[in-house]
């Protein structure tokens, strides 16, 4: 312990008097930065201001699209939510709407299913809506992007007025209404037991050739089990294509078997030693039984594109490809040393936290009543190496998994 102390003291003593004067550009840059820097107290009001703006913007957007589909036994109508704060009456015929008519914001907007009456084209804030097929009336496509499809039926033109308080109401995204147009989103939860192992490639050729791992059994990887779980929002683009995104938590493990560790590497003793390749290992490069588990716990935001190969409402087959930007929350492990015969613990700094993975999967989807079941194999490949350039080789993870999920339609 005393020796430890003296070593540290000696080092401290030796370096205590050292000074390195920074170049002039440091102060110049600092001076410029200081001129730009906020007063410490200023950032909070600015953040508060931005927060308030965001809140008001979101409320404004939310109010703008807050329409309700309301109905009685006799008639139905679209209404702006804000109208419900007023006691207004329904008029017995459709209003001519246009953006100069502010009254619509505070009134119930009756829509008839009568074909003849709906042949008129109504202008609503610059968007058109008109008669759709059969007895349903839908907003024109670009309007439906904002407010979903609106359908009205059973309107009784003979009744002249009705109090808002008498109306039953339902959100405009009423399931029955949307199903008519087959436009729905889905929420998907899935788990995938996986099997992971690293693909190892050498960064540079050694003596003109890459190292052949198959000829050396000193250090090698053994695949091991992992697990992932995720939640995603599924949104159809058209009948065949859909897009999916959400959150994914993934734990992958693989085993490294090697003879000894970094402690056994000693510095060259001979002055004639000029090459680091001559760094010797005290122990023979045989398998003395070190089994080391490498673990990686990561959080991803996958973006997936899905294509329906074949099927019907009951059973369908898909394939999909995904890109998964990921962040490694926790990782421990060992890497093979530069001479490929040994291992050493990975310094936390050497782990690449951010990475990108690509996935490919095939699966079937089975309609099970109120929800769908999905299952199929998945292959995933990590694009960037686990370590950030310190090691002479690259280590890319490869996952094989069986993905099982349940899908709940949301409207």
């Amino acid at each position: 312990m005393q020796e430890d102390f003296s070593f540290e003291e000696r080092i401290k003593e030796k370096i205590s008097g050292i000074r390195i004067h920074p170049s002039d550009k440091v102060w110049k840059a600092l001076h410029q930065d200081l001129s730009r820097t906020f007063h410490p107290g200023m950032q909070y009001p600015v953040l508060l201001f931005i927060f308030i703006i965001l809140i008001f913007s979101s409320l404004s957007i939310s109010n703008h699209s807050a329409f309700l589909f309301i109905y009685t036994d006799n008639y139905s109508a679209i209404v702006n939510k804000s109208a419900l704060t007023h006691t207004e009456t329904l008029e017995n015929k459709p209003q001519i709407l246009n953006k100069s008519n502010d009254a619509f914001r505070y009134r119930l907007l009756p829509i008839t299913h009568d074909h003849k009456q709906m042949s008129e084209v109504y202008d609503y804030e610059g968007f058109l809506f008109k008669e759709a097929a059969s007895k349903y009336v839908a907003l024109k496509e670009h309007l439906s992007e904002r407010t979903d499809t609106v359908i009205a039926e059973r309107i009784n033109l003979s009744e002249s007025s009705i109090s808002v308080s008498d109306l039953k109401k339902t959100n405009i995204s009423n399931r029955e209404l949307i199903e008519k147009k087959e436009k729905y989103n889905a929420l998907q939860f899935y788990i995938a037991p996986s099997y992971s192992y690293p693909l190892v490639t050498q960064r540079e050729k050694n003596n003109g050739s890459y190292y052949d791992f198959s000829n050396d059994s000193s250090s090698y990887y053994i695949p091991s089990a992992g697990l992932e779980a995720g939640l995603a929002l599924w949104k159809p683009i058209n009948n065949k294509w859909a897009i999916k995104s959400g959150f994914l938590i993934n734990m992958s493990t693989y085993e490294l078997r090697s003879s000894s560790n970094m402690n056994d590497i000693e510095m060259p003793k001979s002055e004639k030693t000029t090459n680091s390749n001559e760094l010797k290992n005290n122990k023979p490069s045989s398998l003395s039984g070190a089994k080391l588990m490498n673990q990686n716990f990561r959080f991803s935001v996958p973006i997936e594109v899905e294509y329906m190969l074949a099927g019907n409402k009951a059973l369908s087959f898909f394939m999909s490809g995904s890109l998964q930007p990921s962040f490694s929350v926790y990782s421990t492990g060992n890497i093979i040393t530069s001479e490929f015969k040994d291992h050493t613990p990975v310094d936390p700094y050497l782990y690449r936290r951010f990475n990108v993975l690509t996935g490919l999967e095939c699966f079937f989807r089975l309609n099970a009543g109120s929800f769908d079941i999905q299952a199929g194999p998945q292959i995933r490949y990590q694009l960037l190496s686990n370590n950030v350039g310190a090691s002479p080789y690259r280590e890319h993870l490869m996952d094989y998994s069986m993905k099982i999920g349940i899908i709940k339609k949301i409207y």
Partner: protein, 216 residues
């Protein structure tokens, strides 16, 4: 006094007084740490410069011990001083200003190191061995800076723990918290770093073996 200073600054801006006189006035005004601190609290640029000039050379050594190269070390220094000036109001006069600045510099260096991917470029045992071979030819001219160079030749993880434990005096528990590692990892990294550094220094004859030292 501040009014006089403001007047001189304005005069300097108008080129009435030469820069040398302004610098002299700065030196007189900010001779004491207290004056520097007061000036920095008032965001006077001259006081900030005085603080920078007082500690920058010392602090750059700290950054240099963590950074892969001098350019990165200067970046760390710049970042550190921005923090120093923007948080100077948080300094409590109980401890020394230098100690407080040093703490910020160390933390900033660590954070920069975590963010900077370039730091990994110089980590390998290969350059270390080559370095020893090169330095062995120059044993006559060994200086303290060589120790710093030896420390810098260590793998990043090793040298970070060694810097924090042996030189900055942090406990392993604190290092573990700073680096998000286990306390045991910090200990083992330190032991390895120390072994490696000792071997390098012994070969460079910067330090003598413990037994030899006892005899002498």
């Amino acid at each position: 006094m501040i009014f006089i200073k403001l007047f001189i600054n304005q005069a300097a801006l108008s080129n009435i007084f030469p820069k040398e006189i302004v610098y002299l006035v700065d030196c007189i005004m900010y001779m004491t740490e207290e004056a520097i601190l007061k000036g920095c609290l008032n965001k006077e640029r001259a006081a900030q410069k005085a603080l920078y000039e007082k500690y920058s050379a010392k602090m750059l050594v700290i950054c240099y011990r963590y950074a892969p190269n001098i350019a990165d070390a200067e970046d760390m220094l710049q970042e550190s001083f921005i923090k120093v000036f923007s948080h100077i109001h948080q300094f409590e006069s109980k401890g020394s200003l230098e100690g407080w600045v040093r703490k910020i510099v160390v933390h900033t260096s660590i954070n920069q190191l975590k963010k900077n991917k370039k730091f990994s470029d110089c980590i390998d045992v290969v350059p270390m061995a080559e370095y020893i071979m090169q330095k062995e030819k120059l044993t006559a001219n060994l200086e303290s800076k060589d120790i710093i160079d030896c420390i810098r030749m260590l793998p990043v993880g090793y040298r970070t723990v060694l810097n924090l434990y042996a030189i900055e005096g942090y406990a392993h528990r604190e290092i573990a918290e700073m680096l998000n590692i286990e306390e045991s990892t910090s200990r083992s990294q330190y032991v390895r770093a120390k072994q490696m550094l000792e071997k390098m220094l012994l070969r460079l004859q910067i330090i003598k073996p413990a037994a030899e030292k006892k005899r002498s």
